[in-house]
Every structure is written in structure tokens, then in C-alpha cells.
Symmetry: none
Subunit: 200 residues, 4 copies
């Protein structure tokens, strides 16, 4: 074994290829055979690192959830007015999502294919994430900075639709960078909440 370093190349490679193939063909459309072939190992190796094909999917969900929660928490708990923080959080989740478009495609498309227990865990984690985001909206509404004509919960469902949707239309080599789309979408969100212009 050459790797004393903490990263396990085989495991890492398997996860990478699985992500790519699940995004490309769907979870059920990508066979374990294809994944291990792409990763240059055998099935046995895959089953040494992962319990099942489902486990592979679960790991992908875990990675996404962890990353996004970390970023949201850092921004939401950081400095700035609530409008600035909500704008930053919205722009950031859009940009992060465009930077990991495969993860996003898998996320919303394959939730129903997870084993029930796993799905429950993922949904709970996702709900916590949504709630943290929603709390930002509520905070602004309480301060009177945001309109409360539409319930905060619904605003979040509305906005995250656009995140969800990115996988359907966004292309890395398209006319707009992820950051640009993020800025625009965050603007739309803030405007729809009746907040004035935010940012530089």
C-alpha cells in the first residue's frame, strides 16, 4: 500500500465516477459494472469500501449536505445586515451548486430511490438546512426589512426551486458564470421580498 496519506485513492475515485455516472444516466441507469470499470477497479473492491450501490448514493448526499450546511452557517452567522447575509447565502448556494452540478442533478432526481431509512435521514438534514435559510427570511421580516406578504416558508420553497432547477438548464460553458447567475438570482430573491438594492 502506497497511501499513508489519509485520502484513499480507490474510494475517492469510485465516488467520483459514481457521481459522474449517476448524473449522466441516473442512479438506476448507471450499473455498478460501469462505475467500477470507470474507476479502474473490480466490483469486489467497490464492495470492500461501500456496503451497496445505495451506500454510494448515500455518501454523495452526505457530502452535498455537509458542504452546503457549512457554507450557509458560516454566512448566516457572519457579519452584515440580514439583507446582505440572505443575499450572500442565496448567491453562494447557486454558485456552489453550479460548481458541483453533478451533485445537484443527482440530489433532486434520485431522492426517491434511496432506501427508506436513508431517505428519511437525508430529508431531515435537508429540512434543517431549509429552516436555517428560512430563519434568515423571518429575521428580515421581523425587522421590517423584508415584506411579509408571502410566508417565509413559501419564499424558501420558491427560491430553492431555482437551485433545484439549475441542473436542468445550466451549463458550465454557457454565457454566464455561476457567480453571475448567483448574483442575479439573489437579486430576484431580495427584490421579491421588497428589499432595496443590496451589495456593491
Amino acid at each position: 500500500m502506497l497511501c499513508d496519506v489519509k485520502d484513499e485513492p480507490v474510494r475517492r475515485r469510485l465516488l467520483g465516477e459514481a457521481t459522474r455516472l449517476f448524473a449522466e444516466r441516473g442512479f438506476e441507469g448507471a450499473s455498478v459494472q460501469e462505475i467500477v470499470l470507470a474507476a479502474g477497479v473490480t466490483k469486489g473492491a467497490m464492495y470492500h469500501y461501500f456496503d451497496s450501490k445505495d451506500d454510494l448514493l448515500h455518501e454523495i448526499y452526505g457530502r452535498v449536505l455537509r458542504l452546503q450546511m457549512e457554507r450557509l452557517t458560516e454566512i448566516a452567522d457572519g457579519p452584515g445586515t440580514v439583507a446582505e447575509r440572505l443575499h450572500a447565502a442565496a448567491a453562494d448556494v447557486i454558485e456552489t451548486t453550479t460548481a458541483n452540478l453533478d451533485d445537484s442533478k443527482i440530489f433532486f432526481r434520485s431522492m426517491h430511490l434511496l432506501a427508506p431509512a436513508t431517505r428519511k435521514t437525508v430529508r431531515a438534514e435537508r429540512r434543517r438546512y431549509h429552516e436555517r435559510f428560512r430563519d434568515l427570511v423571518i429575521e428580515g421580516q421581523r425587522e421590517g426589512v423584508f415584506s411579509d406578504r408571502v410566508p417565509a416558508e413559501l419564499v424558501v420553497d420558491y427560491f430553492f426551486g431555482s437551485v433545484h432547477h439549475l441542473g436542468t438548464w445550466y451549463h458550465t460553458d454557457g454565457p454566464l458564470t455561476g457567480a453571475q447567475v448567483g448574483k442575479h438570482f439573489a437579486d430576484l430573491l431580495l427584490t421579491s421580498l421588497g428589499a432595496g438594492h443590496v451589495g456593491e
Copy 2:
């Protein structure tokens, strides 16, 4: 397909059960056996009415696309200011989607599973639909009624995310009716375009 008769109970039932099962378990998760069992017929009957399992899915896409395009055209080409028409179209697509939630779940979740040729057709049809919607936004921006800070194309991508997303969180027996959600989301859209209050 040889049948011109509108009322084809077997065909209808097959399509209905397929829609339900595809939404419930995903296209690949629902077997032809399960579908024909639920419809109370045999496999032979299904293959008499449909060319393949893929054809079943294609029909569902066709039905959704046809219905939504009809409704959009009627509203967009109808009377009223552009703000009123955009608001109505937005509210209507939300309400129609909540009323046919299974169709919506299937639509966004299974696109990648269609045979390439079919997928191409569906995408083209969908693009036409988006363009008609986008034209309404452009029309408003030209008139100076809507802000043009965010490109019309992007506004449409932003908004349709929320439609796409409905299948993930909306429940018929939840606290809000589809019409209420439609009104709220249309409000958010119009507000984000800087349009004043549009209402009944």
C-alpha cells in the same frame, strides 16, 4: 396506434396507473408487470396499445406539454395588461401543476431516462413553452413595466425552478391550496420584476 376512438378505457387506465406508479417509484422502479397488474390487464394488452414502456412515458410527457402549452397560449394571447397576463400565466402553471402533481414528479425526474430521440422532441417542445413565457417578460420589459436588470431568459429559469420544485414539497392535503400557492408565487415573480401590485 389504430384507435381514433377517444374513449378507450384500457388505454386510459394503463396510462393512469403508469403515471401513478412512475411518480411513486420512478420510471425504472416501476415494472411493466406492476403497471398491467394495477390496470387489471395483461402484458399483451399493454403492448397492443403502446410500443414500449418508453412509449408510455412519452405519452405522459406529451399530455403534460400539450395541456400546459394550451393554457399558456390562451392566457398569453388573451386580454389584459402584460403584468396581468404574466401573473395569470404564472399562477395558472403552479395551480395546474399541483393539480397534476404526479405528472410533474415524473416530468423533471425522468427526462434523462427517455430514449435520446424522444428526449430531444420533449426538450424542443419544452423550449417553445419557455420561449412563449419569456416573451411575456420581454414584452413587459420593453413596455417599461418590468425591470430589465435581470435577463428575461434568466427570470424564466428562475421562476420555473419553483414549478419544478413543487413535486418535492407540495402536498394536496397541506395547509395551502394550489391556487393560493399560485397566487403567492405569481406575486413573488411580479414583485421581483419590480411590477406593482397586480390583483383581482
Copy 3:
């Protein structure tokens, strides 16, 4: 379909080859692939007639249990003294077993491989069979024809060991016919019960 006759050749052939191969290599040692190959059909055909490999085994158990119970009932409820009936039943089960040696090999060797629910059913059926046999012994003991030094239950366990064991040593092309072995074993049983000479 050429078969209007009630026997289904494919199903029958599958069961026959499965019996042969399970006896030869054990249930786990014989693959479905080998069975269908021997039967000259494909796996799909097998799964059309049987739910699983386990189901195949279950059917074999059912066949044996049904046959033996029928024969025992007919003899036990028939005419003759209790000694004659016990002798006849004992000789018959030995002869029937030698005539279906593969069934017997499978029966005692694979019980532990049945699905728990199936195993329970088989055991219950087997117990009923044993009880009917035991009742004959008890009947003779009550009449004073058989010694009651050894409990009837234990006599049955003792005797059925010899049935069980046949698969281990008996060969169709050996020096003794099944009928001869049956006569000898029935004699040993009756003698061990202290009954005088029975039969012609």
C-alpha cells in the same frame, strides 16, 4: 402450446432435474443455471413457473410429504392386526424411500436451508406423519402386543433414523432390492418391540 394434457412438461422437467441435481450436489451446490440447462430451458422459464430456487425445493418437500402421508394413512387405517399394519407401514416407507432415493437425500440434508416459514410448514407436516406412525406403536403397546419398555415416541425416532440413513448407503444396483431391505428393517422393528414373527 401443444399440451392440453394436464401435465406441464416444462415444469415437470424442471422439478425432475432439480431433484436430481439437489441430491447430487446439494441444494446450495446446484446452481439455477445448471438446473435450467439440464431441463433445456432458460432461467426466465424457471422463474415463470417457480417463485425462487427455494420454491423449487419446497415443491420437492411437498411431493414427498404428500406421497408418504397418503401411503401411511392407507396402510394404518386398513385391515389387519396392529403388528401386521406396523410391519407393512415400515416396510412400505423403506421401499418407497429407496424408490425415490433422491427425494430422501434432499429431504434430510436440506431442511436447514429452507426459508424459515417454509421450514416450519414442512416440519409441522412431518410431525403429523410421525404422530400417525407413533399411534400405531401405541396401539400395539396398549393391546399388549408390543413391549412398552421403550417409549413409543423414541421407537419412532429410532426407526426413522434408518429411513433417513438410506440415502447414505443404499444403492439401487446393490445386492438387495428396496423391498428386501424393507422386509428386514420391518422385521427388526417388530422384533425390537418384542412382537413375534409377522407376515408370510
Copy 4:
């Protein structure tokens, strides 16, 4: 195997757990992984002490055969009348078997799974054991103490069925001790040979 040391805890533990698991789930149903896990070692360790999974099974057979041959030889070559010695040998093999029920279950259930060469060796050893037992019967028949109506060979096959069968019905926590069953079965054997009452 390089180790002459008698006390090899790891090897011993592996054999013990293998015996338990083979009896519980069958040879093919118990995986090497399960065995090493139960023994608290790793696969590497197992393959250090045993050549293969088959070797593990072979060792179990060897242990049983060695033990039973030793006991039989001691009794058969010991003092007492032939009736006494046969009774003692029969009772002893029953009692020894109930005391090592797992070994017995494995013995008769897994013979067909041994590698052909190994199986041949085991069968030869078993045959020698049977022959020594049979010689006792012949000795008694020659002396005129036992009836020779049934060939000695067949008497042995008859009796060893009951030994074989113990694994199917005997339970340590049942109403009878192994010694009691041994006494009863030995009585049945002797009686069936027409020998008068033997023993205290």
C-alpha cells in the same frame, strides 16, 4: 501445518466457531467472514492455520472419526460378553453423539460438500468404523447369541440410522439425557437381535 504445540488458542477457536456455524447454517451457508468474525480474528489468520474452508470441514470430520473409533475400539476390544460389549458400544456412540450434536449435524449433512478426495478418505475411515461395529454383530451371531435372520451389515446400517438421525430431533434440554436415549436405543438394538436383557 507447522505447529506441533497442542494448545493453539486461535486454531482451536476457529475450529469451534466453524463447527457451531456449520451446524447452524450449513457449510455453504456459513461464510469464512462470519467464522473469523466469530473467532475474533481476520481472514489472514484463518488461512494461516487452514488451507481452505474445506480444510476446516475436513478437520471436523477427522476429529469426529478419531474420537468415535477410539471409543469403539476400547469397548469392542475390552472385557465382557459380546452382548455386553455391543450394548455398551451402541449406548456410547449415542451418548457421544448427543454430547457433540453439532459435529453430528455437520457429519451427515455436509459429506457431499467435501472435495472428492477428502470425501473418499472420510468414507473409507467411516467404513472401517462400521466394519468394526459389524464384526461385533457377526461375533454374536457366530456364537449363537444374536439372531442371524437379518444380515449383520444391514443391522449396522439400521442402527446407525438412529445415530445419524439424532441431529434432527434430539435436544440437550429435552426430557431425556443422552445416556437415557443411549440405553433405550441399545436395548432396541439388542432386542431386535433376539438377545435377552443386557446390563444392570
